[in-house]
Symmetry: C2
Subunit: 211 residues, 2 copies
């Protein structure tokens, strides 16, 4: 599922991680953290899953937290890229919100294992890494809030509480990672289309008033 | 926060768990699982948090999984009670959906630590316990789906995909447990009111047609 979706989108997960051994360790860490939780996973577990020795792991990552930080950083960079691309894209506010929700949901569905680690293990990050990630999350939030604010200004949207609605829209998309199953009835694309419609209803989208 | 909210609602969490030592162990287990994850928590950790010996724990719970099952069962019973009370309550479909969302959100906000354990550790349950919990989740889903179906039949709601919208409504409410902080700007009541409005928009609620 993940690889088919990625191929369709021209996206190779973790392709930014080199060399290959470092990438394999990161993929193994995602699987281990998702399965047992960060605190129950040892660097020995991760090395074993990657078919490597603990000593080989330490060449690439000094600590388990460094692995989590790398995973979290890549996931949050991707989320921010998805949302700012949509916010800066062409079209009216409704079209940009539709695009943001579709691609953000698709990512959380297709990469639900990674997304769970990225979303649920924030408290395990070292304080300086947590601050860095929180800053990225604020930027993601700001991208969605900007689309909503512009839609209200243009008369396309009716949103009494822009900050609260932004929070709800992101929350709805993020929780896809919790419940989505590749064995389920809906594809990532289908969930994206359903959620884009639901979010446009949440913001009271209507055709832009004629000038 | 939890206790003030509980007092306001006349709800004493874990009051169904007796004797007192068994209740204290359950509360300690919730805190430990939420903080470190189920797999990283030992029964020794739990006993220590409750100020008891591991031997005293075994008088009440044979295994760590028995504690998780008890927590999950109580949480899911409460969720089902909230949703069926709203579905069976007085009023039109919009009023019942409003009540369901408000109380379900309030519970996930006020009891966010418990709710995280209940929602995120399903895979750690023994197969027979997992089946039992999945059956309760299906009943919760059915209670919300029933309100939506009745609203569509009465002409109050416009919902092209009842199953998908039911899933989204529950998902939106459940994810409150992930992001809610007692130190944040919104109270559980305020989040409940905001979300009830957003969900009524999602279902295209409009005044019931005059007969």
């Amino acid at each position: 599922m993940d690889s088919a979706q990625d191929a369709a989108e021209g996206y190779r997960p973790w392709s930014e991680v080199t060399p290959d051994a470092a990438r394999r360790l990161l993929v193994a860490a995602v699987d281990a953290f998702a399965e047992r939780g960060y605190h129950a996973t040892t660097t020995r577990d991760i090395a074993g899953r990657a078919g490597m020795s603990p000593a080989a792991l330490y060449i690439h990552y000094k600590t388990k937290e460094e692995l989590l930080h790398r995973i979290s950083r890549i996931g949050h960079d991707k989320a921010l890229d998805i949302l700012t691309t949509a916010a800066d894209g062409p079209g009216c506010a409704a079209e940009r919100l539709d695009a943001a929700v579709r691609s953000f949901v698709r990512w959380h569905a297709a990469h639900h294992t990674t997304a769970r680690v990225v979303q649920y293990e924030l408290d395990a990050l070292a304080p300086e890494h947590r601050s860095e990630i929180v800053a990225l999350r604020r930027q993601s939030d700001a991208a969605v809030r900007r689309i909503l604010t512009e839609g209200v200004a243009s008369g396309e949207f009716d949103v009494p509480d822009v900050a609260g609605t932004t929070l709800a829209v992101l929350s709805l998309c993020i929780d896809v990672a919790r419940w989505f199953s590749a064995a389920g009835r809906r594809t990532p694309d289908e969930v994206g289309a359903l959620y884009a419609d639901l979010v446009l209803r949440m913001v009271g989208a209507r055709p832009r008033p004629q000038k």
